[in-house]
Structures are given as C-alpha cells and as structure tokens.
Amino acid sequence: MLGTLAILACAVPLRSIFVATSGDDVDLVAVGLLDWITVPYILAGAVAWLRRPASRLGPLMLAGGFASGLSALQLTHVDGLYTVGGAFDVLPAALFLHVCLAFPDGMLRSRFEKVLVGTAYGAALGLQLLKMSFGALGPHSLIELSAQPDVVRVVQHVQLLSLSAICLIGVGLLVSRRRQAGRPRRRSLALLIDFFALGLVMIAVLFIAGTFAMPGFLAIQRATLAVIGIAPVVFLLGLLDARLARSAVGDLMLELRADPDPADLREALADALRDPSLTLAYWLPDFEAYVDLDGREVELPAGNGRTATLIERNDGHVAALIHDGALDDEPQLLDAVGAAAGISLENGRLHAELRARLEELKGSRARLLEAGHKERQSLERNLHDGAQQRLIALSLELGMLEQKLGDRPDLQSRLDGARQEIAHTLEELRDVARGIHPAVLSGHGLAVALESIAARAPLPVRLTVDLDTRLPDRVEVAAFYVVSESVANIAKHAEASVASVLVSRMRDGVVVEIVDNGVGGADTEKGSGLRGLADRVEALGGRLRVWTPLGGGTRVQAEIPCA
C-alpha cells in the first residue's frame, strides 16, 4: 500500500507540472505552495497509517493531502478540473482543524469537538458549493446556476468568518489541553501541538483578511500555507525521534555495562526514552508494594496522562517505569529499554528493598523507644500520685499527732522516728522516680531540668540553654540523657577541672554539646555509656559524635531532629 501511496505522492508534482504547462498565466508560487502541503500530508498520513493502523489519524492526513492537491486543480484552464478544484478550495482548512483536534489517536474527544468539526466541514464544503452555484467562480464553473454577486459576497463572508471563528475555538481547545497535561510532555509532541495551534491561528487570520479584502492578503496566504505544510514535517520528525530513541537503547546498554549507581539509573532510562518525567518504582514482594529508591511507597498512576510499564524478569515483577502516556505509542522501545535495564533494575530493586527494611527498622526502633518512654512516664505518675502522696499524707498525720501529744516525750520521739523513716523512704522513692523518668523535664522543659544537673555536678559546669520553645517530648528526653550521662562520664573518667554544656537550636532540631578539659581518650564503645546514648539519639534519626583525643579533653555532640 505504501508503494501505491508513494506513487500517488510522486504524481502530485507531475500533476503540478501538467497544471503549470496547461496555461501561460498560472501562478507557479501558488502551485508550489499547495504541493508543499500536499506532499508532506500524503507522506506523513501514509507513514502514520502504516505504523498505527488502528489510528484514524493516517487516513485523515491522507484526506487532507488529497484535498489540498485537488484544490490546486482550480489553477487549470480545463473547466471540469477547475470546478472540482474550486469546490475543494476551502476544505483543507476544515481537514487541518480535524487533524489538529484528533491528534494523536485520530478520534475527537467530545461531542463539542465533533459538532465543531462538523460545522467546519459544512462551512468549507456546503457553503462553497452554494457560493459556486451563485457564480462565485465565474463562467468556467460547471455548477453555476445564476450569477448573483451580492449573494456570493454574503455567503463568502459567512463562510470565512465562521471558519476563522471555528479555528480560533480550536486553538482554545488545544491550549486548554496543553494546560491540563500539566508537566512537560515529550518535546517533539509539544512542538507539534504548538505548530497545530499556530497553523489554526494563521488560517483564522487568513480568512479574516480575505473577508475584508485586507492588503497583503497574498503574503498572509503564502505564510499560512507554509506553516500548515510544516506540521506534518514535525510529525514525521517525531516519528524519526522515536527511531533515534530506539538506537539510544544501544547507548543505554553501554552505559548500563558500567553498572551505574541505582540513583543514576533513572537518568539513563529517561535519556533513552526521551522522557525527562520518567520515574521508577520497584516492586517489593514482601511488602506487596511499589516503592521508590528510598523505600517509600509509591502509587502506580491510573490515567492522567501517565502510564506505568511493568518490567518482568524470570520470576515475576521487578519494577515499573512510570512515564508520559505518549510513550505508549512506542511499545517496542519500552520493551527494548526494559529488557536492556533488567539487571540494573534488579539491583535497584534490592537497593530499594534494603532501604525499605532500614526504614521499617528505624520506625520500629523509634516506636520501641517511644513506648518505653510512655511506660516510664506513666510508672512515674503512678508512683507520684500513689505511694508518694500517701506517704506524705501519713507523715502529715503523724506530725499532727505528735503535736497533740504535748506532754509525752517518749511517744513523741517514737512518732518523730517514724516520720524520719517516712522521710527516708520518700527520699529513696524520689530517686527511684527520677531514675524512671525525670518528671521535671516533661513538666518544665530542658532548661529547668538541666539546671539541677549542672548544679549537682562534682565539677564546675557552665550551662547555656538557648531555646525559646519547648521541644517534642522524645527529643527533650534524649537531650536530657545525653547531658546527664555525659556529665556523669566526665565526673567519673575525665579528670576535668571544668565542663560546659551548650544546648541550641539547629534548623529542624536541637544540638547538644558537652565539652570538658580532661584527659580525653574516652572509650566510645563500652562502659562509658556513650554507645547507649548514640543508640538513643540515632533512634530519633539524629547522630552523636565524640571527639576525644588523648590529653585533649572530650567533646560530645548530639544533633537530634525534631521532625
């Protein structure tokens, strides 16, 4: 079939030569320009039809090409051909509109678009015939019934103005469609749609200029024909782009042989597919979910111009390429890229799985810590509201009793002894409670809680707390233990004469720094409790660093994020 069409396309210039030689006053530029439209449309239509037989776009473009080819016949001096050419004079404009709106699958999307295109055909062909029957094309037209120039002028105005209005509405539709697409579509596609819009605008301008017999009509006409002729060229370039892309699979394979970092894989695939919006999702069977490279769950797109192409390897899902819906037209390319990237995607999947498990572990560690913290808090509360209050009330009762026993010193001293005993018990309970959870911390914040640590330390501790607001509970608790544990370490091991504690805000969290001027060389792994502190800080997504050169003091720094 392609052969037939090629012959037909080649026949167009032959026909033009025939047209050109058939008379001596033929406008050769006009003939050339009409061919400039006819040939690309026929060729592009043929290729489109061949590559996507299911799409109606190919036949539509072919029809457009032939219509413009036929309209060139009005330049001949043979009455029959002249009449046919005249009838097709305006039809290419309607066909062009149809192609623009039906791109890329050849279907009009809404009832409104169908009505619009139908009206365009009516105006382009129906009104044209009406015009001709009233003698618009002069005596050489075979279908002239009577010559009525006034009627012709009215019909012509109605025809051209309505067509230019329709074309402008079409531009509006294209613009809104491009807006809805949101993110940048593939470049060649965007370019094509821009050309469509430009072509429609120029047709509208042309018709308006024709209606009002504006000067420079000829120049506008030629420019319009030139632009309309470019659209199929861009279309062909787009197809060619896809072919180039397929050759990019070779480059991709070379690149993948170098075993790129999973983070770079996306770039390589996006380049090969020429879709900068491409993202990757890896399938984790244990989680039954698609995740990104950082292990966060992602939803596969459903509609909305995005499509997911699933990549399978020997034993099931590996990943999904999430790309622009326009790539669906190139299934072979997607298959080739998917196959080329198979092993690298498998690597990426393992990476993502590791990250997902790590995240899960981090989450569970933080939850465990949080649960422990909550439990300690409620234990301390129970102790405070229960045993401690009762003992105090008991002590009060004994005290009042003691007062009443004015003249019984023996009993008084026994009661006093009992009160002392209660006082000791309360003291012990207080230490236990403090060990379980520092209530002053949740009640009054870091600055207040750290004041006592600094004051009770067996060495001078300079405390600077630079916070203007309270921090989340778990962050305060971690910071508190970092300070109390570090100060205890300094007292035990550092032989320091002075220490300082600095608590300050960082971007999204808090920095706690404890510095001493002791012997340094602290054991960061066992015994010193530093390991436990690091665990506590890391569970909150923070980090604990220790500088402890021999003889150079020790600096403990914890960064704890609040998020």
């Binding site: 401690q388 009330a393 003291e427 009640g443």
Partner: protein, 214 residues
C-alpha cells in the same frame, strides 16, 4: 491569716486544711485545679496561696504557672509552692523578679508541722522560704576559684539560712546566738563575697541566690 489551698490529692488537701485550721489559719478556699484557684484568689484575696506544682489537667506546669500568675496579678497575695521534687531551675523561675512573699518547699516538709506552719506564716507575712535542699545544692555547687571557700564554717551556716529566707531573728535563734552577732556575720559575708549590702531580708535572699547561681 487567710489561706487558699490548691492540691489535687484529696488526702493531702484535707490534711493540709485541717493542719492549718488547727494552727489558727482561716482556710478560705480548697481547690483541685489551677483555674479554680485563680478564681478563688481573685474573689477571696487570701494572705497566702499554697499551690501544688503538679496540677491537672496535664500535671505539667499548671501549678507553677498559677503561682506566677498570682504573683503578677495579685502582688498582695503570697505564694507557697509545694512539690515532690525541688528543682533549682524552678526556684529561679519562681523568684525571678523578687523573693517577697514567695516560698518553695519540698512536700515532705509538711510532716514537720511546727516548721511548716512557721514557713507558711513567714511567706504570708511577705517573707521568703526556700527549701534547704535547694540551698544545699546552691552552696555546694562547684565553682572555679570558689569564693565560698573564703567563708568560715559559721559564716557558711549563716549564708545558708539567709538563702533559705530566714530573718536575722530566725538565724539568731537557729544558731543560738545574738541578733547582733548575726548582723556581724552577715556584713562580713557580704564583704567577702563582694555583694552590696541590701536592705530588706527578701531582697537579701535574691542577692544571695543570684550570687550562688552564677
């Protein structure tokens, strides 16, 4: 003397009311939360409000906040804060502006009825009371080049009593010495620590606290 009590444990609240009632105080209000206390302080204007530092609903800083509110809104009402833990940071917060008519005691102290009642009286009369435990923490705090080392043991005792809010009379009877002797010690201490000698006893508390804290 008129007193308001805010304490969420019924056992303790009623115990306190009974104790103070028997000691000759008029208990004008008993509350179990901070809002109620503020309301009753506004209506009854007691001489002193005794406030548990941990009050509902969150048992965090409601009690302390109520105490600070009373101090700023009703300067004529003294406040005695009770707590199961005494924290230097809280004492500093409570006495940030002035030590007049403020007290902060460990709850355990109410078992020693006589001393507790004396403390309530002192605070109600506009004096200051600071728990010995806090004074201890402050005095024994390690300082580079410790200026307290220059004090004699006796002067240290006097300093501690001063910091706890005792008057010269109170110090004299605690140490069984004359008021004149106390005055001598006080001026010697102020000289050694380089503090300007200040008039009232509560201002003296603040000066000593500020010194000890730094």
């Amino acid at each position: 003397m008129r007193v308001a009590i805010a304490e969420d444990s019924v056992l303790l609240r009623e115990g306190l009311a009974r104790l103070l009632g028997e000691a000759g105080f008029e208990v004008v209000a008993q509350c179990d939360n901070a809002d109620d206390l503020l309301l009753k302080v506004r209506s009854y204007h007691p001489d002193v409000a005794i406030v548990d530092i941990r009050l509902p609903p969150t048992h965090n800083d409601e009690g302390l906040q109520a105490a600070l509110d009373i101090r700023s809104q009703h300067p004529s009402v003294s406040v005695l804060v009770l707590s199961q833990y005494v924290e230097l940071g809280l004492a500093l917060k409570l006495l940030a502006d002035s030590a007049e008519g403020v007290g902060y005691l460990l709850k355990d102290r109410i078992g020693d009825v006589e001393e507790f009642v004396a403390a309530v009286r002192r605070v109600a009369a506009g004096g200051s009371v600071l728990d010995p435990m806090i004074v201890q923490t402050l005095v024994s705090r390690q300082r580079p080049d410790d200026p307290l080392a220059r004090l004699t043991p006796r002067e240290r005792e006097v300093l501690e009593l001063m910091a706890a809010g005792s008057s010269n009379q109170g110090i004299a009877s605690s140490l069984v010495i004359t008021v004149r002797a106390v005055e001598k010690y006080v001026s010697s201490i102020f000289g050694k620590l380089g503090l300007p000698s200040s008039g009232s006893e509560s201002r003296r508390v603040l000066a000593v606290l500020t010194f000890l804290r730094s």
